[in-house]
């Protein structure tokens, strides 16, 4: 760490503390502003923090090629500190004071639910980069990632099929908020209706957000697995730092993917940093992008990111890319395209231009929006942990899937 960047860092830290809301003042009239709502402190910081930078990177790329509608982009970042109501407050500030043209933000559904009434009231625009529980369709939110029908259910189907080891018993472990609970409600409906599986084949447990001590839960998983001869799996919906803490305990208690595989619905490459992945090989996740996705678009993105990290001293690893990063990055381009098409930055105009906008996403799929709803059509990847703190692709959908916002299994 060079001294100058250290000083700069201290300065930023000091500034962040003195004004925990908006950091950059409005100083340029010609520029069009975009807002970022990603936490760089609190339990979600390690994963969410990266998204701030990737939005900036996309904006810089657009600026280099002449901006949007001839105007340069300025990105305004905030730090909602992993505190759900704060997301709503800061969204309001971004919309009312900074007058941003669009916002990119939120990881957990709880934070999105906090922003939802704000964007609807002010007729703002939020691009939401995470896969989530669905059951929502606001005209003010663009859902960049997949609802369960095109992410979780294919993954579950894979695990229950021949190639996944015929799972028939399910330990559902989640953080206690809307996403895990809705996902598990859908899973239970799906298992009962589609597979005729009885309620005694699953156990549902929730932990507080930020929970770190998993020893008794991992022990419960052990005894759950011993109860019956049928193949058990864990459907993991804990978020943030609970994920590595859970896996740490899983390793310590000596359970492997051969005994009880974990389908980690919020597990990304970044969560494996610092873990001994040798003992985790074989656990699964499902996303609309994995770092190992084939194709040139991905290589371009990965190169751009590692150069951006080097050039800007970003405090994250340049060789790790995760789905929400790619989704956030793509969303800037999707917004720019809609704005160009509309010839305006006004939200109603931009919204009218949505149908038909598409982008050659680093995942290798051409992702698009249709007139039907605000859900982006994405591809599906199922990944399996490998020794190198990454995921091997075990399955990927041939085409993008048509998103189904409302599940029939609830």
């Amino acid at each position: 760490m060079k001294r100058r960047s250290f000083i700069k860092g201290v300065g930023v830290a000091g500034l962040a503390m003195s004004a925990p809301g908006i950091i950059l003042p409005a100083w340029s009239q010609e520029k069009v502003k975009l807002g970022c709502l990603f936490s760089s402190s609190g339990s979600m910081a390690n994963v969410e923090g990266r998204l701030n930078y990737v939005v900036r990177m996309a904006a810089e790329e657009l600026n280099r090629s002449g901006g949007v509608l001839g105007r340069q982009i300025e990105v305004v970042s905030t730090d909602p500190a992993s505190d759900w109501p704060l997301y709503g407050q800061q969204a309001r500030q971004l919309l009312e004071e900074e007058k941003v043209a669009a916002m990119f933000g939120c990881w957990t559904s709880a934070s999105r639910k906090a922003v939802l009434p704000v964007v609807e009231q002010n007729d703002g625009l939020l691009y939401y980069p995470l896969h989530f529980e669905g059951e929502e369709n606001s005209k003010n939110i663009v859902y960049m990632n997949s609802p369960p029908a095109s992410s979780v259910l294919p993954a579950l189907e894979y695990l229950m099929g021949d190639n996944g080891g015929k799972a028939r018993r399910f330990f559902m472990l989640g953080s206690d908020y809307v996403w895990p609970r809705t996902i598990n409600a859908q899973l239970k409906g799906y298992l009962q209706e589609k597979w005729d599986i009885k309620p005694d084949a699953w156990q549902e447990e929730y932990v507080p957000v930020g929970h770190s001590d998993f020893q008794s839960l991992v022990n419960q998983i052990k005894s759950f697995a011993d109860e019956s001869g049928e193949q058990p799996i864990v459907v993991l919906t804990v978020v943030g730092n609970s994920i590595p803490n859970f896996f740490q305990e899983y390793i310590n208690q000596g359970i492997t993917a051969l005994d009880v595989p974990v389908l980690g619905l919020d597990v990304v490459e970044a969560d494996l940093e610092g873990l001994d992945t040798e003992s985790l090989v074989g656990h699964l996740n499902c996303w609309a992008y994995l770092q190992n996705a084939p194709g040139e678009a991905n290589q371009r993105f990965l190169n751009a990111w590692s150069e951006y990290v080097k050039a800007n001293n970003v405090p994250f690893r340049g060789d790790v890319a995760i789905d929400p990063m790619v989704s956030a990055y793509s969303s800037v381009y999707m917004w720019a395209q809609a704005a160009e098409k509309a010839g305006s930055f006004d939200v109603p105009e931009v919204r009218k231009a949505f149908p038909g906008t598409n982008f050659d996403c680093p995942s290798g799929y051409n992702i698009k929006l249709t007139a039907e709803n605000n859900y982006v059509h994405r591809g599906v990847f199922i990944g399996s942990v490998n020794q190198n703190q990454g995921f091997d692709i075990v399955w990927q959908s041939p085409e993008t899937t048509t998103p189904v916002p409302y599940s029939s299994y609830i």
Binding site: S41, G164, S216, G254, L258, V394
Partner: protein, 548 residues
């Protein structure tokens, strides 16, 4: 006549040639031939799952009759395959070995391998099918008892498609007691199914000596089936075995809960101890305490990295080498903080609350911009990996045991410092009556500063201990601070023993409630219990005796 002669001759020729073929088949060691080796690795790299499983099966059959080098080769091959070390090229497979690559067919070594050499992906069903075959091949090939034991234990998880008859024949020739015992575990399901009373009794006695849930489930299943060919003696034996196994399993589950409570309690104690001392002595509510825990963990990480670079031989012991650093770094930061901030605010406790909170934010962000927000990667020494089974289902993981050990050492060390050193004496005096202590010549200011540094250092030790069980990142402390405060308040402000007891109690309460009602409810119930306790005993378990 002539005709008959000819027929006979041809019959002899055919018979001879047939014999020759069979003899040559038996003589050849099929897996030693390069061509066979090539066939095997080709199927393993790109064949269908069924084809691969058939190939494992035939390799196992071949290995039984092969000579020692061939057995060794096969055991290595299947082991490397299972561990994911294959790099499949067009006409061979390479295995990383000593920074070089080994061609498994020719045995040649290479510095580099072709770019298109790929790692084959083994999905879960394939790995499940493979594991027992790999263990069986290794069992056949291995000479040393330790290796055989490892292989036999691998088979005990599941026998898969490996034929029990083969294991049975190995078992009959096994001379090592431990290996034989492990093989008995493997053979239990086959013996139970056999219908032979002796075999069944043997299986039941094996199960009865294994106090696990799996063996209880196996006995339950055996007792449930309604077969007439089970003799009365076998049934009685199974029933008595079941009840004894069940009893021990339940006892071990209770012990597990108690142990979880103890280990969580030790975490709480470590995190809260420094806080208790600072709070007790100076009445300063140090909200940055949790960040000292984080600093201790980071100091441990720096020591680990330094050892990795300078003395890789000592890396195994970094946790112990790091102890002084994990104590000193937060202690120095604590001393500096006391000197620069806290000292000026002694008369305004509410302001120290705000100031220390600001320091906590500053420290988090400082670490974030200097080191980064990612979780730090800690090397797990061999002696900390997994754990051991005490009895039944009661098993202990080394990393948790280490944190209990650190908690114990810290408790003893702190008691020693407080009750057996001059610094401790001054500290106790100042805690009891600040003015009076000052009057008899104790420099209360210096005592304060030293106590603050001492408490901060203790938090650093907590960070060191926690680095093996939790993940280390800039915000790791934030989840600890509330729990630590609860412990300090329940324990009685400033009391070391009270802190220990409160931590144990809260840890135990958590461990008991969590499996029953879930983690969310356990937080609620524990907080409720704490409120009721504070209402009854507002000064905590061990209220301070001195005058204020």
């Amino acid at each position: 006549m002539h005709r008959q002669y000819l027929d006979m001759l041809s019959a002899i020729v055919i018979a001879c040639s047939l014999m020759f073929v069979t003899v040559s088949n038996a003589l050849a060691q099929p897996i030693l031939e390069p061509w066979d080796r090539f066939e095997i690795v080709k199927v393993w790299c790109s064949g269908e799952r069924e084809a691969r499983i058939i190939s494992f099966q035939s390799l196992l059959e071949d290995v039984v009759d092969a000579d020692a080098p061939a057995q060794q080769w096969a055991a290595n091959l299947i082991g490397e395959y299972r561990d994911g070390n294959f790099r499949c090229a067009r006409d061979t497979v390479y295995i990383p070995n000593d920074e070089q690559f080994l061609d498994v067919i020719t045995g040649d070594r290479f510095k580099a391998i072709p770019d298109d050499a790929e790692k084959p992906f083994l999905n879960i069903p394939l790995r499940r099918a493979l594991a027992p075959f790999a263990s069986a091949v290794q069992l056949v090939a291995a000479e040393a008892p330790e290796e055989r034991l490892l292989a036999a234990q691998g088979l005990a998880r599941t026998l898969g498609d490996v034929s029990p008859a083969l294991i049975e024949s190995i078992y009959r020739q096994e001379k090592d007691m431990q290996v034989a015992a492990a093989l008995e575990d493997v053979l239990v399901p086959a013996w139970l199914k056999s219908g032979d009373t002796d075999a069944q009794l043997k299986a039941i006695s094996t199960l009865a000596s294994n106090y696990t849930r799996t063996s209880r489930a196996a006995l339950d299943k055996f007792l449930d089936q309604k077969t007439e060919n089970v003799s009365e003696a076998v049934r009685t034996a199974a029933e008595s075995a079941r009840s004894s196994v069940h009893w021990v399993v339940q006892l071990s589950e209770v012990m597990t809960v108690a142990y979880h409570g103890l280990s969580y309690g030790s975490v709480l104690f470590l995190a809260a101890l420094g806080l208790a001392i600072i709070f007790g002595l100076m009445g300063v509510i140090n909200l940055a305490q949790a960040e000292f825990v984080m600093l201790g963990a980071y100091a441990t990480w720096f020591v680990q990295e330094a050892l990795r670079a300078l003395a890789p031989g000592l890396l195994e012991y970094y946790l112990f080498i790091a102890i002084p650093f994990a104590f000193l770094v937060p202690a120095l930061v604590g001393a500096f903080m006391e000197w620069s901030i806290v000292r000026h605010l002694y008369s305004r406790p509410l302001l120290t609350l705000l100031a220390t909170w600001a320091v906590s934010l500053l420290l988090i962000n400082l670490v974030r911009v200097t080191v980064g927000t990612q979780n730090l990667s800690f090397f797990t020494p061999e002696y900390l990996k997994s754990g051991f089974t005490v009895f039944g289902e009661f098993s202990i993981t080394w990393s948790r045991l280490l944190s209990i050990f650190f908690a114990g050492i810290t408790l003893i060390g702190t008691l020693f410092v407080i009750y057996r050193t001059r610094f401790g004496l001054r500290m106790r005096a100042t805690t009891q009556h600040r003015q009076m202590a000052g009057c008899v010549g104790v420099s209360t200011r210096r005592t304060d500063a030293m106590a603050f540094a001492f408490g901060s250092g203790l938090a650093g030790i907590a960070g060191l201990a926690l680095s093996t069980i939790y993940n280390v990142n800039p915000t790791m402390g934030t989840s600890l601070i509330i729990d630590s405060f609860i412990v300090v308040v329940v324990g009685g402000v400033g009391s070391v023993l009270g802190t220990a007891l409160a931590a144990l109690g809260i840890g135990q309460l958590n461990a008991i409630i969590e499996p029953q009602y879930g983690a969310v409810a356990s937080k609620v119930l524990v907080l409720l219990a704490v409120i009721l306790f504070i209402q009854q005993k507002p000064n905590g378990l061990f209220p301070r005796k001195g005058r204020r």
